[in-house]
């Protein structure tokens, strides 16, 4: 256990070959790159310095907000991701986060308690009706968002452990906020891997770094045992094989040469790669029959309309995705934003 220093050296080499600052941002590695460049005597671009300032302010606000949250709630409160993961980094200031993910057993009561203490809800209510957390909360004057979860975010094809189950294997939070809990490092590493598969399967280098950084504080055997118990073995071993190959000296599996082409050298995924990898994720993360069933559901979800989206909007969105298939994701997002602002 303990931080594997060689991982950080590998990471330095990877960011050194990144195709652009935008690619570093897309992979969540821009703060790490800035810090290493400065240490090497290189000039840090102003846009990254601005990112560093913003991240520093958020990191300064985090313990203040967490103390407010802990003080406002009865019952057990668990912090996932964000500062809890940052504490496992060789340099915590290089792990960026924008929100605080709180897991509790009675989220509605906690949400009410926080609102009564001055927190304000944001976002459209309908967007948070059937997802893993309630409407985001902000405390006026502090720049971080708090999200109260009733369960961690997992892909639909994995069984999600309950808040109670995770609480039973909790440890004190690394943030040192009194009374605040965190998932055990083994559970946390698994949750981070699952979260990554739910959003961008093996899409972002930071997700792999997070998993290995947290896992370095656990026994690997304990994580494997938990993955077996949760029936997450395939997802876990696939994640770990990718992380160990990209950030360590493990052999590179054949599938990673296709799936992880955007990781070495570090570049943004294209729109086509992003869609393909999200749809095909169950094939790599589940076994046999479960993979086939989940793939069917994944394809159905891909073809479905977003909530509230008209048929015309769905066609327009799909058409843009096809037209931009080989465009970087960020360029695609900017184009979509510009077009929607123009009303096209």
């Amino acid at each position: 256990m303990g931080s594997d220093l060689s991982m950080w050296d590998e990471l330095e080499a990877l960011v050194g070959h990144a195709s652009s600052t935008q690619a570093l941002r897309a992979h969540g590695m821009h703060l790490f790159a800035a810090r290493r460049w400065r240490a090497a005597g290189r000039t840090v671009p102003e846009e990254l310095r601005e990112d560093e300032r913003r991240a520093a302010v958020l990191a300064l606000a985090a313990p203040l907000l967490l103390e407010q949250v802990r003080g406002a709630c009865d019952g057990r409160v668990m912090l996932m991701k964000g500062p809890e993961v940052a504490a496992c980094y060789l340099d915590p200031s290089t792990r960026y986060y924008r929100d605080l993910d709180i897991l509790v057993e009675d989220p509605r009561a906690v949400q009410r308690a926080l609102i009564s203490c001055g927190f304000a809800e944001g976002g459209r209510p309908e967007a948070f009706e059937d997802i893993h957390h309630l409407r985001p909360l902000v405390l006026p004057g502090l720049p971080l968002i708090v999200e109260v979860h009733h369960r961690p975010k997992c892909p639909p094809w994995l069984r999600t452990p309950s808040a109670g189950e995770l609480m039973e294997m909790s440890v004190p939070s690394a943030t040192r906020v009194e009374g605040l809990l965190a998932p055990s490092p083994a559970a946390h590493a698994l949750l981070l891997a699952a979260h990554s598969w739910a959003h961008k399967p093996l899409g972002r280098l930071r997700d792999l770094v997070d998993v290995l950084a947290v896992l370095s504080h656990a026994e690997r055997r304990a994580a494997h045992e938990l993955a077996r118990r949760w029936k997450w073995e395939r997802m876990w071993t696939t994640t770990l094989a990718a992380a160990d190959a990209i950030l360590g000296s493990a052999p590179r599996p054949m599938w990673l040469k296709v799936w992880g082409r955007h990781l070495q050298p570090l570049r943004e995924r294209t729109v086509f790669e992003d869609h393909l990898q999200r749809v095909a994720a169950p094939v790599y993360a589940l076994k046999g029959g479960r993979a086939v069933r989940a793939l069917g559901a994944s394809l159905g979800e891909f073809a479905a309309r977003y909530p509230g989206e008209s048929r015309a909007d769905q066609f327009r969105r799909t058409g843009r995705a096809v037209a931009h298939a080989f465009m970087d994701e960020s360029a695609h997002a900017l184009t979509v934003q510009a077009q929607s602002e123009e009303g096209t």
Binding site: R38, V44, R49, E52, R53, A56, V57, A59, L60, A61, L64, S93, P140, G141, L142, P143
Partner: protein, 85 residues
Amino acid sequence: MLQLRTDGLNWRQIDDEIVALDSAGGAYLAINGPGALLWAPLVDGATPEQLANILVEAYGIDELQAAADTEAFLGSLGEQGLLAQ
């Protein structure tokens, strides 16, 4: 003796810059150059003369200029309520 507030004022150094969060006032500050140089002594407490001497040594400017710069910086901190009463 002048000193930065200790309650609700949190900060960290990034390279040659200070990034501070004043949670009481809900303000964020980025301070670089001479201001960043004077920040650490002000955390512990220092007189205007001591601060001006730091500028003289660091930048090779004359004492009058250093005293004026120090006064301007302290005035700015005071306006933002960052100095202890």
